[in-house]
Symmetry: C2
Subunit: 586 residues, 2 copies
């Protein structure tokens, strides 16, 4: 069963992701010194004691749909109510509306824990938080007054409604229609894949819906964002008249069965009343506010699921005995963990998870700094760093979640294929994270075509990585093995691949796009490898768990960072072969 | 829906796996020239028309257990009966007992098709065939007379019963007891994870059970193999008295729901009557006869599932339109397949599947040659080659099945996570193949510790690969891109890693074991890459689909063979870091 790795998370936040440095910069002025650990401890307890025990029933019973209503799995409503009442939903929400105003970095660590306990449970609040962002950033004061406090407290939840049957990754194709009506709007259309579109956890649900005005330009420039409540609030704020937005069905999914994924019908009768957020036809900008925050959260979801899979596999490998290692008596048998090949799987799980965690937390720190730094140029630089790291945090972490949960099944052997063991559920649950909030292919294209051109952020990032490798070299610590050499080569490969891709973007965009996914992987392993090495250096300096961190950093460098050169070659040499391969797909 | 790639399979068998050469050697003397294609055509039709339509219901309804009986999914009994009646079960079975005596190579291609249509359906007969092998090789004439013909016709099915709760990969721990009784034996014990342990497809089931005599030595040297029929046959061969072997339950699994995975109880009442196969305490040798054949079949299962996933993803990527490629009008939208990143996923699926297919078919050819060549030394060499390639065929093909089916989900985007699409089922079904019949970690250890010492087979294999690369170089065909360079480097890496591992095996076995899994991958990508290149050369020479095969070979070399050097480093440099990493797993 999941136990929150509070010490590891706190160490990573403070000494690697930059939390302590940011504190020293003064961006968290009201934060008591021991608050970080205190919050993490409490979150960890809630995650393992209250949420984790509900994960299995959520998978087995799922969210049940009947006559337009969704019944959540047994125990989920109680847990959600407790969770919101304890203030977890509003942890990083603005204090003006009842939030606690704590750092996003702390919230990210808590989101990891909710996801470790139950990804299906955690994904609902993730979208509420994204809706809060969009409303807080772009909503009118009137809308904020009515909705923000209840969304932040978790009394109401939010949904993000982008996708339609013909409009998935290409949101510009959406057809949901909004007509002006008495100072508000009436919406008509159908949305699919709407996470927590309907449920019985709360007495109202606030839908954030992308739609198109009758006179809107085509494509993404003609999209507007609307707030569409399930119940139109009364003057006193209580839920009033039922709005014309309904769940039509719930999907039968591979995983996260406890999360109701709904097809939603808007305006089947009189039209769904909606309120504009931001300007007409400026919905994409509002949506990107939601999406970026949500993308980081989904990266963190990958980390959370991977952490649970790692814990479970480790526990099984320690307990299960099979065979003998050299020197054992015939009557003895060794635990699986004693075998080098099993150790390889467990170390891979551990190292990939920690690398992804550090990338996600570092991204969360960039978010805090982009909002809280006083100097506008420094805020801008932090924002560019946030933009650069977000697609990596999302895609690398969810890719490794697939790898780690698959290894989790493998470590269990035949038991891993049996649903009762739980390893299979993690494998199934993880699989969506590389798909939703922008597929990982979309993240890679975003990284290559929109983020690399911000060369200052890229240069600063690479310099940071080089600095780490120089420090590893200077340490002369033999426990690092080949770490410095492999990381240095990886940065060289990353640097060359970056220059090559940027050069192609103008002249041969398809060649750049062909290398996008291997490039994101190269970026992820190089960054992750350097961050793990930096953690090991810090652990040595502080005398905190140095042997473990050295071992993880070394393993990552010798088994993952070592792949950098092949990825560079694939990117730089592989495009013509890929682009010219149509005959192979005929 | 699945369509058997008959032309591709025939090309691969004949021109790459060595079927045509073997025919020229005269090992298939009675085989008509056009028989290969005729058999493949018929098998393809049966697979796609009869079996494939039952795959979905098999997943949804599964095999139902009640009161010791298993009811197979609707339509499965009819399909199985038709399938057996058409002679497919006995395709490669000995003619003496009613089999058709066709090459294992042809059977492997057919097994691929059954698995493409439904892995849950195909896995049952796979184990029957393995039982046939053991009985034919080691059984007494009396046993053969009673059981072989019915097992070969498929009138009865077989099971392999090794695993017990405490004895998984370590079969030496098994406790099932066999006592001598009236010239036969009485068995008592419990077996788990027994594929097709109970079902209603046939009126008898023949269990091949590993058990231990009271006076047997401990460990694997004290294991004997028994034939334990569900019903004891009457004198006329019809099923008679019910034997004391029963299914206790059926597992709730991640995938292959149509395949009943049973816990079996032997001897709860008067003891299960069993008949010895081979000698007492020589059961492991008999079992290895079954396992080796079954391991190749499971590799082929990986290929079959990967093929279906590839076909499905290709069809979806051609049909689904999202966004625009450069130069398209705003009103148009492009199919997913037009995007380089999607093309990368599809090419990866195609290339990995074809590489694994070729490795499996080549292994099947080695099996045929090991049985059919007249010269004993040549037979022995073929047998060593079979032994060398079997773990690679099993593990590489099932590893890539996981990768390919995961990409299949990804290509579908959000739809991939919805069960109705079918991509998720392939992803779930594939996951067992890397686990059963010896986990892929066990295969890697087998390769490194038991197969590499057969240096003649290794040398011959590497020489064969070098010959292919030399031919690619000599062709000077620019369509190969970096193929020759990358494959040549890959062979160098494989060669160096092999020498290093063999050197460690005596002095530092843990160091060798630490590198086993990356070594198997290195062996697989190098071998697969060379075979694909050889196919491309042949396609150019014959003028048969050369552009497609050149593109696949090039893509594989530039995207997979290119990883060889990193794998070599991981193997040769990574052992100390892995072995010394216990602190990271504390």
């Amino acid at each position: 069963m999941y136990r929150a790795p509070v010490a590891d998370i706190a160490f990573t936040l403070k000494n690697s992701a930059g939390f302590a440095a940011a504190q020293a910069e003064g961006i968290y002025p009201d934060l008591a010194d021991d608050l970080l650990e205190a919050v993490l401890e409490e979150a960890g307890k809630f995650a393992s004691d209250v949420i984790a025990p509900l994960n299995r029933v959520g998978d087995q019973q799922g969210a049940l749909f009947k006559d337009g209503n969704v019944t959540m799995p047994p125990g989920w409503k109680d847990a959600y109510t407790q969770w919101a009442a304890a203030g977890w939903n509003g942890l990083a929400g603005p204090t003006q509306w009842g939030g606690q105003g704590l750092p996003w970095a702390i919230n990210a660590a808590c989101v990891e824990m909710w996801n470790s306990a139950s990804a299906a449970f955690a994904v609902g609040p993730t979208l509420t938080m994204a809706g809060i962002d969009a409303l807080a950033a772009h909503g009118s004061d009137d809308l904020k007054k009515i909705y923000l406090a209840k969304l932040i407290s978790g009394e109401w939840t939010g949904t993000m409604q982008l996708t339609e049957p013909q409009a998935g990754s290409d949101v510009g194709l959406l057809r949901t229609r909004a007509e002006r009506h008495n100072g508000a709007y009436k919406l008509t259309g159908q949305k699919i894949f709407i996470t927590y579109g309907e449920h019985d956890l709360t007495d109202n649900i606030i839908h954030f819906v992308l739609a198109r005005l009758p006179d809107a330009p085509s494509g993404t420039r003609g999209i507007s964002l609307f707030l569409v409540p399930k119940f139109l609030p009364n003057a006193d704020g209580s839920p009033g008249k039922r709005n014309d937005v309904r769940a039509h069905s719930v999907e039968h999914k591979l995983g996260i069965h406890g999360s109701p994924t709904c097809t939603m019908i808007l305006g089947d009768n009189e039209g769904a009343v909606g309120y504009l957020i931001g300007e007409e036809n400026a919905g994409m900008a509002c949506m990107f506010t939601m999406m970026n925050r949500a993308r980081l959260a989904i990266g963190v979801q990958g980390v959370g699921i991977a952490e649970t899979a790692t814990q479970q596999a480790l526990a099984y490998a320690r307990e299960r005995k099979q065979g003998r290692t050299p020197g054992m008596k015939p009557t003895e048998s060794a635990p699986l963990i004693a075998y080098p090949d099993v150790k390889r799987m467990l170390l891979t799980m551990r190292a990939l998870t920690q690398a992804a965690r550090t990338i996600c937390y570092t991204t969360a720190l960039a978010l805090d700094r982009s909002e809280r730094l006083s100097d506008p140029a420094a805020r801008r630089a932090a924002h560019d760093r946030l933009s650069l790291l977000t697609p990596v945090a999302k895609a690398f972490s969810t890719d490794i979640a697939n790898e780690v949960t698959s290894l989790g099944v493998q470590v269990h052997g035949g038991m891993g294929f049996i649903e009762e063991t739980g390893a299979a559920q993690l494998f199934r649950d993880a699989r969506i994270a590389a798909i939703y909030e922008g597929t990982n292919g979309i993240q890679a294209i975003d990284l290559v075509t929109r983020k690399l051109p911000f060369s200052d952020a890229v240069t600063a990032h690479f310099n940071e990585l080089r600095g780490i490798v120089d420090a590893v070299s200077a340490s002369n610590d033999p426990a690092f093995g080949w770490t410095a050499v492999r990381l240095s080569e990886a940065i060289d490969s990353l640097n060359r691949a970056t220059q090559w891709l940027v050069a192609q973007t103008g002249t041969d965009p398809d060649a750049a796009l062909a290398g996008a996914s291997p490039y994101l992987r190269l970026f992820g392993i190089t960054t992750g490898g350097c961050y793990l090495a930096q953690q090991a250096l810090t652990a040595v300096r502080l005398g905190q768990g140095a042997p473990a961190r050295l071992a993880v950093a070394r393993f990552f460098a010798e088994n993952f960072a070592v792949q950098a050169h092949a990825l560079e070659r694939t990117i730089v040499e592989g495009a013509p072969g890929l682009i010219g391969a149509d005959a192979a797909l005929a």
